[in-house]
């Protein structure tokens, strides 16, 4: 491995490492725009120049790989002057419309200008004008004047998705990002160009003029959209509640995880958070009384639901758990089933249409925790048989988590007969759906950004999602609802936190042995069976 020195500090890195990455290891940031570790080297922005001893001119760090004995300086007078010049050049034709730009506050032109700016503009001539507010596809909008022509978006579509919708057209300072004729930026990963665009040229259509980024709080999370479990950040607006039309979760951003999703997430996941603040959210425990639905307090609901469960024989209860529940939820449900002696439990409900899948991130299984449900050991039974038993009045109490059975692959008549056949239908979930309309008892659950938990992705990676918001209304995390029921049924003390549930899970289920929230960390941890 070559040994070199950067700013007087020695280091050793694998051969082929470029100077931006090498410096990063020392915590030295070499400013850059066009370089992105996931994309080919373009060398266009010219901002990442460094001085190398014995080399007459400053070199671009992105296209210089480390060599034995190299002595690099990232802050010489000449380098600092060059950065200043390049920053001035980047702004010659830039519209400087930060006050109306969604990127303001997280724009790399602003960030680098603060440090490397000329602070003495010399440009008094007319700027080159280009198209503004051009929708490129369903999610992304372009302001060509703000574009610094770093070509990251073009390289993303060429190299990552292979869809090549974008190109740079014209020449010189008339150069412009645009769509090839007849194209639309509608690939399944189009939103990522917004993240990699260092400026406000590409922005999210659904985030346009919604809220200033400095009013956002962020929290680490996991995308619930499929079995991949891409690592994300949830961005929530709580400090200006009147912004973004009152939505709390205003956007999701990918969070780097080398083993799972690298820098990316798919559009379905990215733009799929509306349910959290949606109109269908279940916000209060409720009981249906004939035609009427009555909201009740949890203190009333828990004994009521526990009473129903205890009121039936164990073989009269059927449970359709959900592979969207967390490991913690599923573990508590297992304990509750054990306490009640219920055996008719399953979590598998086939979707009406198979989910789409590709060879990149998107998995056909649209549930975040199918693997977790398998491992926790729920579901010896067959879900369709449970429904059939309800139809045949053998199962009298049907407890459904999350699922909309009416949107499943099962015939509608069969589902309706089952729902109408059961004496008591309990629905537990975050949002109302056509199935929940048949419930006698509704237990409102907190959505994933409103709680803690872990999911196990298809590869067996257990990943933590964290709480960014309080639950809406009186919703409670599933584990908490289940813990209260368990307490009611069994008299056992209930867990205070999701982490307590996980600790019990790790102590009980061998696949999770030795794991803790700490060991899972931000990067996730493979279950025992999946470890090499």
């Amino acid at each position: 491995m070559p040994k070199l020195t950067i700013d007087g500090r020695p280091l050793e890195v694998p051969p082929g490492t470029n100077l931006i990455e090498a410096a990063r290891r020392l915590g030295i940031e070499i400013p850059h725009y066009c370089y992105h570790p996931a994309l080919s080297i373009a060398g266009q922005c010219r901002l990442c120049v460094v001085d190398i001893e014995k080399v007459p001119r400053p070199q671009v760090a992105c296209n210089t790989v480390v060599a034995e004995g190299m002595v690099v300086h990232t802050e010489t007078e000449r380098v600092l002057e060059t950065r200043k010049s390049i920053m001035e050049f980047h702004l010659i034709n830039h519209p400087l419309d930060c006050p109306v730009c969604d990127q303001a506050g997280e724009c790399w032109l602003q960030i680098y200008y603060m440090k490397h700016g000329l602070y003495d503009p010399r440009m008094v001539d007319e700027k080159v004008h280009k198209p503004k507010a051009v929708p490129l596809g369903p999610h992304v909008i372009l302001d060509a004047e703000r574009c610094i022509l770093c070509s990251r978006c073009v390289r993303f579509c060429d190299e990552v998705t292979g869809t090549s919708e974008l190109g740079i057209f014209h020449r010189g300072d008339r150069s412009e990002i645009g769509l090839f004729p007849g194209q639309e930026l509608a690939n399944k990963y189009s939103g990522n160009v917004v993240d990699i665009c260092p400026v406000g040229a590409l922005t999210d259509r659904d985030f346009r003029f919604q809220v200033r980024v400095w009013y956002l709080d962020t929290q680490k999370s996991i995308c619930p959209g499929c079995a991949r479990g891409c690592n994300i950040e949830v961005h929530v607006s709580r400090r200006r509640v009147h912004h973004a039309e009152g939505r709390r979760v205003v956007r999701l951003k990918p969070r780097f995880n080398e083993a799972v999703n690298k820098w990316w997430i798919c559009d379905a996941g990215r733009y799929g958070s509306a349910f959290v603040d949606g109109d269908t959210r279940l916000q209060a425990p409720a009981r249906r009384d004939g035609e009427k639905t009555l909201e009740v307090a949890w203190t009333e609901m828990i004994p009521l639901a526990a009473g129903r469960l205890r009121g039936y024989r164990a073989d009269e209860i059927g449970i359709l758990a959900s592979p969207k529940l967390s490991n913690e939820d599923l573990f508590l449900l297992r304990r509750l089933c054990d306490a009640l002696g219920v055996g008719a439990v399953d979590y598998r409900v086939p979707p009406a249409r198979p989910g789409d899948e590709d060879d990149f991130l998107i998995r056909a299984d649209k549930n975040a925790n199918t693997r977790g449900a398998e491992l926790v050991g729920l579901g010896g039974a067959d879900s369709r048989a449970i429904l059939a038993a309800a139809r045949e009045r053998r199962v009298k109490c049907l407890w459904i988590f999350c699922h909309d059975l009416l949107a499943s692959a099962w015939p509608e008549g069969e589902v309706l007969d089952g729902l109408l056949g059961a004496e008591t239908v309990i629905f537990q979930g975050t949002n109302a759906n056509p199935t929940s309309a048949y419930a006698h008892l509704v237990l409102p659950a907190a959505a994933y950004p409103e709680r803690e938990g872990t999911w196990t992705n298809f590869e067996g990676r257990v990943q933590r999602f964290r709480q960014a918001l309080p639950p809406l209304g009186r919703a409670l995390p599933d584990w908490e609802i289940l813990g209260r029921l368990l307490q009611e049924v069994q008299g056992a003390p209930r867990p205070a936190r999701a982490e307590d549930c996980f600790r019990d899970l790790a102590a009980t289920v061998p696949a999770f042995a030795g794991m803790s929230y700490r060991s899972i960390g931000d990067a996730g941890q493979l279950v025992q069976t999946a470890r090499p």
């Binding site: 010219r46 060059t82 050049f89 001539d125 190109g167 020449r171 010189g172």
Partner: protein, 415 residues
């Protein structure tokens, strides 16, 4: 060693230019055509490269790089394809020499390509012809067909003639390669250099038309003969495209050691306009301008480098005292603003800005800080870009203003 160009020199590149049928295979053969190729067939490839090195031939496309040395960069024993690419894009303003060669002596280029390809181990050569060069392209394509029919081509070397679409940047060798590959003609980052990883990822040697036309003569008459035609550090003759305010504009062959004065006053017959020389651009638009008192320089690569300018493509543009230098800069600046490929920030953003400033100055709306702003911006941008286009643009920006500052200031109110 250098021969005075005042003495009439034996025409070499231009020896057939007088014959109306000079472009035909028959005419070419009658004047010794393809005998260099016959000799080269008896030489080991390395011996050809060595002869070219000893001839002191330097690239005539613009950069003046020693040709034999460039050829020797091709990795030895390379397994895959190796390409020879002929740069016939001729976009440098003031330069028309390659056009003459393509139209009047196309077989010289083909013979040179055969020899060069043998030297570097290439079996496929591309000729990238400037889009606007329709007649030269027809002539050259016809010669390629003749050479196939006569069995020179097709037996070890194939030639693909590719037409450009009219962008100056596609003359820059890696821009040319991008364009040849079917991409936008954007110059590529170096390293890797084309000789290691060029067209379609294969080792590629890019040479100018005129450079390759010299090769048969070197092989035929020996590298020492060729070297003796020029200066210590550069051999041979070259074609000078002389234009502007001269009595006889045209393409002249002379030693690389000819002086600028000789070219203007002897070959081109002296200055027109008001008859008094003001300035000359010696090597195409990208070369720094020289004042009338700076023309006693030899035109070889090192001679002009020492004079603070460059030999470039040997496009000599002559301006008499009636020519406005600020207006000339405005025209040149418009060219660079129009032709920048737009990849690198300094080039993309400042060529346009500098053009707008020069335009303002010429129109009488200059500000007194403009000249220093242009100079400062150009200096700061120098050497920071992917290709030499920007440094080529900086040549005129800085030299026109530094050498004729008073003329600019006279146009600026309150300067």
């Amino acid at each position: 060693m250098s021969q005075s160009a005042a003495e009439p020199i034996e025409p070499i590149l231009t020896r057939n230019f007088g014959r109306p049928d000079s472009h035909t295979l028959t005419a070419y053969r009658e004047t010794g055509g393809y005998t260099g190729w016959a000799k080269a067939l008896a030489l080991e490839p390395a011996a050809i490269t060595d002869a070219v090195k000893r001839s002191n031939l330097r690239g005539l496309g613009g950069a003046g790089f020693p040709t034999g040395t460039k050829w020797s960069f091709v990795p030895k024993g390379h397994a895959g394809p190796i390409y020879l690419v002929i740069n016939a894009d001729e976009g440098e303003p003031g330069t028309v020499k390659d056009r003459y060669l393509l139209e009047r002596d196309p077989h010289a280029l083909i013979e040179g390509m055969l020899i060069a390809a043998r030297a570097i181990g290439s079996r496929l050569a591309f000729v990238y012809v400037r889009g606007e060069y329709v007649a030269p392209w027809r002539r050259f394509s016809a010669a390629v067909r003749e050479a196939y029919d006569a069995g020179y081509l097709g037996r070890g070397l194939d030639v693909v003639v590719h037409r450009g679409a009219g962008a100056y940047i596609c003359g820059e060798e890696t821009g040319l390669i991008s364009s040849l590959e079917g991409r936008k003609g954007w110059p590529k980052l170096k390293p890797p250099f084309p000789a290691i990883k060029g067209a379609f990822g294969a080792p590629t040697i890019v040479n100018n038309v005129e450079t390759i036309c010299q090769v048969p003569h070197i092989v035929n008459r020996g590298p020492e003969w060729f070297a003796a035609l020029g200066t210590q550090t550069q051999g041979g003759t070259r074609l000078y495209s002389v234009s502007g305010r001269v009595r006889r504009s045209g393409v002249y062959e002379a030693s690389v050691g000819v002086t600028l004065r000789q070219l203007i006053y002897e070959h081109a017959g002296g200055v027109t306009g008001n008859g008094r020389l003001k300035a000359v651009v010696p090597g195409g638009a990208s070369a720094a301008i020289l004042r009338a008192d700076e023309i006693d320089v030899t035109m070889d690569v090192d001679g002009l480098r020492n004079a603070g300018t460059m030999a470039g493509s040997a496009g000599v543009i002559v301006m008499d005292e009636t020519v406005s230098i600020p207006d000339a800069l405005r025209v040149v600046a418009r060219f660079y603003a129009h032709e920048s490929c737009g990849q690198c920030t300094p080039c993309r953003e400042t060529t346009g800005w500098i053009y707008r400033m020069t335009e303002r100055i010429v129109e009488g709306r200059g500000r007194k800080e403009d000249l220093d702003t242009i100079l400062d911006v150009a200096r700061r941008g120098t050497g920071t870009t992917i290709c030499a286009f920007y440094d080529g643009a900086v040549g005129p920006y800085i030299s026109y203003i530094e050498k004729f500052r008073a003329e600019f200031e006279a146009l600026i109110p309150h300067a």
